[in-house]
C-alpha cells in the first residue's frame, strides 16, 4: 500500500483569516498525507486550526500558501470547473447533525441533491438516484422510506447516518469528517464509528477524521496528527502518538482527557499535578 500514491498530500498549508492588520494565520505550514484507504486523525483543541485545515482541503476556504495534491493532482491551482467535478470525490460530514440537514427538505431531496449537479455525462436518471438513495439508506441502517420524511422526524444519531448516506451518494474517495460524533451520545457514537469503519473497509474510503477526543481518534485512525495554534505538534501512527507521545503538548492533552476508570484516572490526575509542579519550578 505504501508504494501506492496517497489519496491526499498536503504540503505547507497556510490559511489566513481576516484582512489587513487583523490578518491572522489559522493554519501555518501544515503538511501530512493520507495513504489511500486509511484514516488520518486530526486532533487539537479549539483554535488549533483542525477544522480550518479540513475546510481548506474541501475548497471551502481560500488557501494563502502551500499545496494540496488530491490523487497526485494539484487542486490549489485548478480551474473552477474541474474543481467542481472533484466535488464528487471529496465529501464532508459535519459535527452538528441538527444543522447539517435542511429542515425544509425531505431526506430524499437531500440525498439526491449532490447527483443533480454532477457533470451531464455522469448524471444519473431520477430512477437511478432513487434506487441509490434507498440502497444507501439501508446501508447506513435506516429504512428506505425514510426518503419521504423530514429531518425533524429523526434523532441525532439517525441524522448523522443520513449525513453519511448523503456523503456516499457520489461514491467519493475521500470524506472529511468534522467532529462527526461529538454531538452524539456514547452508545450512538459507537454505532456511527462502527458504521464509518465498516464503510471504509467495504468501499476503500479514505477518511480525514477531525476531533478533539483522543480516545475516539485513536480508535478509528491509522495515523494521528496533533495540531496546536495552527501548527503540527506531533504526527505518527495512532499507536505511537497515543501510547508513547513524544511531545510535551501531546502528553498534556492525553493526561487532561478523563478516562472511564477511577484508578487510571487517579493516576492521570496525579501525573498532571506532578507536571504542573514541575512546570512551576522551571
Amino acid at each position: 500500500m505504501s508504494a501506492e500514491q496517497p489519496i491526499l498530500e498536503v504540503t505547507d498549508l497556510v490559511v489566513e483569516h481576516g484582512t489587513g492588520r487583523r490578518r491572522k494565520r489559522a493554519v501555518d505550514g501544515v503538511s501530512f498525507e493520507i495513504p489511500t484507504g486509511t484514516t488520518l486523525g486530526l486532533v487539537g483543541e479549539s483554535g488549533s486550526g483542525k477544522t480550518t485545515t479540513g475546510m481548506a482541503i474541501l475548497g471551502m476556504l481560500p488557501m494563502s500558501g502551500g499545496r494540496v495534491l488530491f490523487e497526485g493532482r494539484d487542486i490549489t491551482r485548478m480551474p473552477r470547473r474541474e474543481r467542481c467535478a472533484l466535488g464528487s470525490q471529496r465529501q464532508v460530514i459535519f459535527q452538528d447533525p441538527y444543522s447539517s440537514l435542511d429542515p425544509s427538505k425531505t431526506i430524499g431531496y437531500t440525498l439526491a441533491e449532490p447527483c443533480r449537479v454532477a457533470p451531464r455525462e455522469h448524471r444519473m436518471t431520477t430512477a437511478a438516484i432513487a434506487d441509490r438513495s434507498a440502497m444507501l439508506l439501508q446501508r447506513v441502517g435506516l429504512s428506505p422510506d425514510a426518503a419521504r420524511r423530514y429531518p425533524a422526524q429523526f434523532s441525532g444519531g439517525q441524522r448523522q447516518r443520513i449525513a453519511i448516506a448523503r456523503s456516499l451518494m457520489l461514491s467519493p474517495r475521500l470524506i472529511v469528517c468534522d467532529e462527526p460524533v461529538s454531538a452524539l451520545d456514547l452508545s450512538v457514537q459507537a454505532e456511527v464509528l462502527n458504521l464509518l469503519s465498516e464503510l471504509q473497509q467495504d468501499l476503500g474510503l479514505s477518511l480525514l477524521f477531525i476531533s478533539h477526543d483522543l480516545s475516539v481518534v485513536r480508535h478509528i485512525s491509522h495515523a494521528i496528527v496533533v495540531l496546536q495554534g495552527g501548527r503540527i505538534v506531533e504526527k505518527g501512527s495512532a499507536d505511537q502518538v497515543y501510547e508513547r507521545p513524544r511531545e510535551r503538548y501531546t502528553q498534556t492533552l492525553l493526561a487532561a482527557a478523563p478516562v472511564p476508570d477511577p484508578a487510571e484516572q487517579r493516576a492521570r490526575r496525579e501525573e498532571r499535578q506532578r507536571r504542573r509542579i514541575e512546570e512551576r519550578q522551571q
Binding site: 435542511d102 449537479v117 434523532s155 451520545d185 459507537a190 499507536d239
Partner: protein
Amino acid sequence: MNRSNGSRAMSAGLVRRVLRKPLGVVSGVVLILIVGASFAGQWIAPHDPLAQNLRIVRQGPSVAHLLGTDSLGRDVLSRLLFGGQESLSGVVVAVVAMLIIAIPLGILAGYVGGLLDRVILRVVDVLLSIPGTIITLAVLAIFNNNMFVAMVSVGVLASGAFIRVFRSAALSVRQELYIGAARVSGLSRVRIMANHVLPQIRGVLLVQVTLFSAATLGIQTGLAFLAFGPPPPSPTWGGMVAEAATIIQIDPWLLVPTGGVIALTTLALCLLGDAVRDANQERFTLAGLEGKPSAPQAGKSQVHTTGADRDDEARMAVTPGALLSVRGLTVGFGAEGRETTAIQRVDFDIHPGEVVGLVGESGSGKTVTALALLGLLGANGRVTGGSIRLSGEELVGMPHARLREVRGARIAMISQEPMVALDPSFRVGSQIAEAVRAHDRVSRADARARCEELLAAVRLDPAIARRYPHEISGGMAQRVAIAMALAGRPELLIADEPTTALDVTVQADILDLLRTVQEETQMAVILVSHDWGVVADLCSRAIVMYAGEVVERARVADVFAAPRHPYTTALLRSNPHGAEPGKPLPTIGGSVPAPQEWPVGCHFAARCPLATEACRVAPIDIVHLEGDRASRCIHIDELAEVRA
C-alpha cells in the same frame, strides 16, 4: 419534483399552524371576504355604483341599501365593492414591485456578501434617504395621475428597508451546515440561494408582506383621498372617505362604512401578520424541541402512577443524616392532568460533603431531575409525585418565596454554558458582588472584599473583576460561575455538565478546581454528566438514569468494576477507551424510547439481551444489593454470570 413536494409541505405546515390560531383564522376569513367580495363586485353588487337617485340621498342603512346611500343617492355598498378593486390592486402592485426588488437583492447581499453586499447596502441607504411622499406625488404629476405607476414607485421606494430585513434573514441561514454540505457537493450559488436560502426566509417574508400591505393600503387610500387616481364619479375607498368627510356635519354615518372598511382591512392584515409571525416562530422552536430528545415532548398523556401507588412506608422513609432525600420523584410536562412523564419514581440520597454523579444519555431525565431539585421546571412542567427533602424540609409544594431563599443559599447551580449565566453588560466583579448581596446583607465594601475572596477561591486574578464577560475565556467564565454559586455558601451544588462545552485541558483544570473547592467547603455536589471519564474523576458515587428512571446506584469504583444493570454494562462497553482499535465497538442497538413510548415494564427491556417475559409485564422495582448498591433489574445474577 422532490423540490416542489418539499416546499409545499413546508408552507402547508406554516398555513396549518396559522389556521390553528383563532386570530389567524378570523383575520384570514375577514381578508378573504373583503378581497373576494371586491373582485366579485360586478356580479354581487346590488346596484350600479354610478347610478344616482337624488330622491334617496344620504340615507342610513336600509333593506334596499344595506350600507345606506351617499349625497348623490348612490348605493354605498356597491361603491365600496367596486372601489375595493382599485385600492386592493394598488396594494398588490406595490407589494409585487417591492418583492421583485427586495428578495433577490436581499438574498444576494446576505448570502454572497463581500463587495456585492457593500454596494447593495449603499443603494439601500440612498433609497432610504429619498423622501417617498414627494417622489410619489411627483410621479403622479408626471404620469398623468396614473395610480399604477404611483404604486410601483411606492413599492420601489419601500424596498430599501425590506432588502435589509431579507439580508439579515439570509445571513443567518448562510451559517447553517447544510449550506456547507451543498457547497461541497458542487452546487452553484444560484441553486443554493433558490433551494436552501429562500425557503428558510419564507416566514419572515410572509410577515413582512402582510405588514407592508397594511401600510400600502394606507398610502393608496390616502392618495385617493387627495383626489389622485381615477377621477369621480368612479368609486375609490379614499375618494369615498373624502366625500364623507365633507358632509360629516350633515351625515356622520357615511364615514362609518367608508372609513370602516379601510380600518378593518388594515387591522386584519396586521393581525394576520402577527399570527404568521407566531406560527413561524413556533415552527422553529418546536423543531428545536423535536430535535432534542432530552426535552420532554408534549403529547398524549401517559402518567405511570403504578409505582407511586405501591410506595410503601419503607421506601418513602428518609435516610437519617442525608442532606438531600429524593423519594418517588415524578415530573410531568404539558397541560395539567394530561402530563407527559419525563422522570418517574426517582429515589436517591445525597449525604453532606459527598460528590455524586448523575449519569445518563439524552432523554434519560438527568437534567429534568436536577431542575426539579431546584424548583426550576418552568411553567410547563411540575412535580406530579414524590418528595424532595433538604435536611428533612420538604421542597415539593414549598411557596415560591421560601424556595427562592433555599435556591442559591442552600442549593446552588452551575450550568453547561457559563456565558449564558453572565450578563454581558455588567462587569464580572459587580455580578459576583450582586450574588453576594443577594444572600448576605453587607455593605458594598464588604461585598467587594467577599468578591475578591471568591475569585481567589476559584483561582482567578482579582483583576478579572473589572472585565466584561466577553473579555474572558470560557474556562474563566465557568470559574466565575462557580464563584457566584459559592457566594451563598451552599450546602449542595448542582453542576449540570459543567465541562462539556470546554476544551480538554480547560476541562481538567475546572475538574481540579471543583475538587479543591469541594474539599475546602465540604459542600455536597451533584454532577450531572454524560461523560463517564468526568464521573470517574470527580465522583464517589454514581446514579445511572435511563429513560426517566434510576436504573443503578453504586459507588463509582463498583460501577466501573462490576456494573449491576445491563444498560450500565452495555453503555460502559461502548466507550472507545479501552476498546481494541480497529475492532467494532460493542453497541446496544435500538434507541432510547420517548416518554410516550415507555413500556409498562422495564424501560430497557426492548434493547436488553437478558430480557424475559417477566421484565415486560410489570414495572420493575429497585432491588437493594450488598453494600450501598441498588439496581432496577431482576436478572442481576445472570448479569454477574455473563460478565464472569
